[in-house]
């Protein structure tokens, strides 16, 4: 081993770097922007189409959402969510959280269409910008 010590150290340094990044990813699962390997699995990129979320999100904007949730039942008001409504994927913003006997529901609005509202259950949410 002493004969190959420089080779060993070079390999170990590379291994240690990867090792540390993976462990960091384990510790900080979806708490910050994707700066490491562990968070890559959470990424959910979407491309905005249509004017429903203007002026915040224009058509064609690339948006990096996260599909890892800390607590799906407890998303704050104002979170941008990607959700399914009758099999159609839509992008909206949480306006209100409703707690009923059957469980938690969210009232989702869309910035450019004040009249339009959806009431969805947390299970319909695929991804959000909540980190």
């Amino acid at each position: 081993m002493k004969k190959y010590k420089y080779l060993f150290v070079t390999i170990f340094v590379v291994f240690a770097l990867i090792f540390a990044l993976v462990l960091r990813g384990y510790r900080l699962d979806n708490q910050s922007l994707p700066t490491n390997l562990g968070e890559l699995k959470c990424l959910y990129p979407v491309v905005v189409s249509g004017q429903s979320m203007e002026p915040a999100l224009k058509s064609g904007t690339r948006l990096l959402l996260s599909k890892c949730f800390k607590d799906k039942q407890n998303l704050p008001v104002g979170t941008i969510v990607f959700f399914q409504d009758n099999g159609v994927n839509k992008l909206g913003r949480i306006k209100e959280k409703i707690i009923l006997e059957e469980g938690v529901f969210y009232k989702i609005g869309r910035d450019a269409r004040p009249g339009e509202e959806f009431t969805i259950s947390p299970d319909q949410i695929t991804a959000s910008d909540e980190k």
């Binding site: 081993m1 002493k2 010590k5 060993f8 240690a16 090792f19 540390a20 462990l23 960091r24």
Partner: protein, 198 residues
């Protein structure tokens, strides 16, 4: 020959175990582990090796060394940091967890500057390699801790300063690097950061 191999490879192996202990620290503690696994391993490994006579206390840096140099290293960096915060007009108040900070800092010095650095020094007979390797591993532990890329790099550089405090070309004793590390951590944790983005 075999013994040589073991003493060469052991520091790397122990670093891996220590890093794993840090990463699974909260998991272990919530599972009922009675003491902090990270700090206890940082103390335990060098102590066990000392008892088994695999390393000597002279390697670890248990001596008076050069007090004048030592005092310089002890006060320079923490002093600069303190004056910086002082002239920025920030409120300073001794951190509530000061004891843990001191114990933790001494533990890290014990393992990194005391054990790893002296072993690398022996293996490579080269201060540059031993300093950079020790502080690269020190940096990576802070990457696991969740520091940003920039502050991790800063810890690597500050680690080189601590390495000089322990090395025979500097303070020549572990006491100075451990003291400097503790003071540094105390100053950074004692400043009131509310509303100020440092």
């Amino acid at each position: 020959m075999k013994n040589e191999n073991v003493s060469f490879i052991l520091p790397f192996l122990l670093w891996v175990i220590v890093t794993l202990a840090y990463a699974f620290r909260s998991t272990l503690q919530s599972a009922g582990f009675p003491i902090d696994p990270y700090f206890s391993l940082l103390y335990a490994f060098p102590v066990i090796l000392l008892i088994l006579n695999k390393i000597s206390s002279a390697d670890m840096g248990f001596r008076i060394g050069k007090p004048l140099y030592g005092l310089y290293f002890l006060l320079l960096l923490p002093g600069i940091l303190f004056l910086r915060y002082y002239f920025m007009g920030l409120q300073m108040q001794l951190a509530a967890n000061w004891l843990i900070l001191v114990v933790g800092s001494v533990a890290e010095e014990f393992f990194f500057r005391g054990y790893l650095q002296s072993q690398f020094e022996k293996s490579f007979n080269n201060t540059t390699i031993s300093f950079s390797l020790t502080n690269f591993l020190f940096l990576l532990v802070h990457v696991v801790k969740g520091y940003s890329l920039l502050s991790s790099l800063m810890t690597g550089l500050i680690g080189v300063y601590f390495s000089f405090a322990k090395d025979k070309s500097g303070g020549d004793s572990l006491a100075y690097s451990a003291g400097a590390h503790s003071l540094y951590n105390l100053v950074t944790s004692s400043v009131q950061r509310i509303g100020v983005n440092l």
